[in-house]
């Protein structure tokens, strides 16, 4: 008996009970669609996270001022400003593992241009910052060390700020007012997108750190900054850089041995990797929950095949009487189960792809449907057919012909 005619017989048999076959398939359809959708959602999320990690830059360390302890009252990170622009300069010069270091002094202010105004984050920094973040200008130029040294009133604006303040106008060379102080726009930064915590990184203005310290925000003491970010020369240099920076800062801040650091060094790459790892675990979790429904679908197939075997006992008897061997009957029912599962699986794949397209569309992610996941679900549904179809098929094949013919 060849396979093609067996498949034909199976399709025929399934089309007799269209409603029943359809409902049985539904279990597999839902299972496969769920697996594909969940895997796609998971990998979409992971892709999103790696994109955000890329947007932040790689091999980054972040140095925050330490927690102040005054009279037993611990006040949290940054409560005592201890970092200065000179710390950043010293790290860049004295720690060989640090490729760049840039101080950051952010603040929020109202920005005015013509009759438009917009509240955004103004960050004072140095040109190194744009190397660390790998963030080029779209037009114009990044301010120079000279601008930093001279505390000039120049600004680099992000795309969101441009859209809100200038509309279609070319911002280059225009004067904007931040807290009534005029700044000249010398560059527009290229689009960076969302940060891992969901901030719009393009809604920002960058000015020389000295200008921010002396003219815009003012500082508790000269040269104070809020954060220093450092880019290590390589991923393997991160650990050493972390250690050496800590040692350098302890020395610069005159911290005697035995006392706590007045700063904290954080490894951003490690944090991102942890986020990526949790996304991976999430997608495995979602996938395994979805595959439970695939198993339930498989049990549905087994159930229906058992009913079918009982219903068609007489047919089995007739086939055996005219010469069908046990193996022929086994194949007939097994292929029926596999056909059921594979058709269900195919429909499920289509629905799963559509479903994940919808989810990624509304979540604003790129579609990440891997051919691997599709192939895997297809193979998996066929395997479910074989696994759950085998028992009923074997039961049918072991029936005695006499009993079957006598069955009413």
């Amino acid at each position: 008996m060849n396979t093609l005619s067996t498949v034909k017989i199976a399709v025929n048999a399934l089309s007799i009970n269209k409603m029943r076959s359809g409902l049985t398939m539904l279990g597999i359809i839902i299972g496969v669609a769920a697996v594909i959708a969940m895997i796609s959602v998971g990998s979409g999320a992971r892709e999103q996270i790696s994109k955000q990690i890329e947007s932040i830059g790689s091999n980054l360390l972040m140095i925050l001022p330490g927690a102040a302890t005054s009279g037993g009252l611990r006040m949290g990170f940054g409560s005592t400003p201890t970092l200065t622009s000179d710390d950043a300069k010293a790290i860049a010069q004295e720690v060989p593992d640090a490729a760049y270091a840039a101080p950051l002094l952010p603040g929020t202010a109202q920005v005015v241009y013509g009759n438009q105004n917009w509240s955004t984050v103004i960050t004072g920094t140095t040109p190194s910052f744009f190397d660390i973040r790998d963030w080029p200008v779209e037009s114009g130029a990044i301010f120079t060390q000279r601008d930093v040294d001279g505390a000039t009133k120049v600004a680099l604006v992000g795309k969101t700020v441009v859209e809100n303040l200038f509309g279609d106008e070319d911002p280059l060379g225009k004067i904007i007012r931040i807290k009534k102080i005029p700044f000249k726009v010398i560059g527009v930064l290229s689009r960076k997108g969302q940060s891992p915590i969901g901030q719009d990184q393009d809604d920002s203005i960058y000015i020389p750190v000295t200008t921010a310290q002396k003219k815009l925000f003012g500082t508790a003491f000269p040269g104070m900054v809020r954060i220093i970010i450092v880019k290590a020369v390589s991923p393997t240099a991160l650990k050493d850089a972390e250690k050496n920076i800590a040692a350098l800062l302890r020395q610069r801040h005159h911290i005697p041995t035995g006392r706590e650091d007045d700063f904290t060094v954080r490894n951003l790459t490690e944090m991102m990797a942890a986020a990526e790892e949790s996304a991976k675990i999430m997608s495995i979790l979602l996938g395994s929950i979805a595959s439970v429904s695939l198993i339930v679908g498989g049990i549905g197939i087994m159930n229906i095949m058992l009913v079918s075997v009982t219903e068609r006992t007489r047919e089995i008897g007739i086939r055996m009487a005219v010469g069908a061997r046990g193996g022929d009957i086994l194949m007939q029912f097994l292929i029926e189960a596999v056909v059921l599962a594979v058709i269900g699986g195919s429909i499920g794949i289509i629905l799963g792809v559509i479903g994940s397209w919808f989810i990624s569309h509304f979540a604003g992610w790129g579609i990440a449907i891997s051919p691997m996941a599709i192939l895997l679900s297809f193979g998996f549904s066929a395997a479910v057919g074989v696994f759950f179809g085998f028992y009923p098929a074997r039961k049918a094949s072991l029936l005695a012909p006499v009993e079957c013919l006598r069955y009413e």
């Binding site: 060849n2 048999a13 007739i318 005219v322 061997r325």
Partner: protein
């Protein structure tokens, strides 16, 4: 002429709960090639069990059974399936056609299980239908055919592999007298012209009259053979 069927001390015991039920208690019988035998007896006399055993649908508890010179009582299930396919054609009281298939597909069924090429199947099935006078009903479903026509489809199915033996279990049981007479004419023709051995179970003496030899069963034994 060598016997086609030769059984010796055939015994079949069914176990029903804790009680053994002796359906056939030591039957010895020889049927020659080309014979037309009617098997008669009350229900429960063991004739159906006997038919199942000589049809290789069931195995005897004890005794020997030679079919065409081959010992079959000890063969495996798959071997028995092969013998049913090639050497035996079955005709049942309730026709036993597959309802959702056409007459042609029903006749093709045995060919499905002996590796006949797909092209051959249709030609041979149509020829078999023609030999029972139903070539114009090939694409009808069993439900669209009369009882007599359905039984002729069943006979075409039985004939498709040119078997040496046809086993008919009350073939006229569900037919009116006209259809019964036509069927028996067909059986007689197959027996006399094609030399096919026919063993037929029946209750009706006028149907049995078509046969050349009558075997009577009672309580699992042959009581009369004439």
């Amino acid at each position: 002429m060598s016997p086609l069927i030769e059984v010796e001390n055939l015994v079949k015991i069914y176990r029903m709960g804790n009680v053994d039920f002796h359906a056939v208690r030591g039957v010895s019988l020889a049927i020659d090639e080309g014979e037309f035998v009617a098997v008669m007896g009350a229900s429960g006399s063991g004739k159906s069990t006997f038919m199942n055993i000589i049809g290789c649908l069931d195995k005897p508890t004890a005794g020997n059974y030679l079919l065409d010179g081959q010992e079959v009582a000890s063969l495996s299930k798959d071997k028995l399936a092969g013998i049913r396919n090639k050497k035996i054609g079955f005709v049942f009281q309730s026709f036993n056609l597959l309802q959702r298939m056409s007459a042609l597909q029903n006749v093709e069924l045995p060919l499905l299980y002996n590796g006949s090429p797909v092209k051959d199947r249709k030609i041979r099935a149509l020829a078999a239908l023609k030999s029972v006078g139903l070539e114009d009903r090939a694409y009808h479903r069993p439900s669209q055919l009369s009882g007599g026509q359905q039984q002729r489809v069943a006979i075409a199915r039985a004939l498709i592999n040119n078997p040496a033996l046809i086993l008919a279990d009350e073939p006229t049981g569900n037919l009116d007298s006209q259809a019964s007479a036509e069927l028996m004419t067909l059986f007689t023709k197959l027996n006399k012209e094609n030399g096919i051995t026919i063993v037929m179970v029946t209750h009706e003496s006028d149907i049995a009259a078509y046969a050349d030899r009558h075997v009577y069963f009672k309580d699992g034994k042959v009581v009369k053979d004439e």
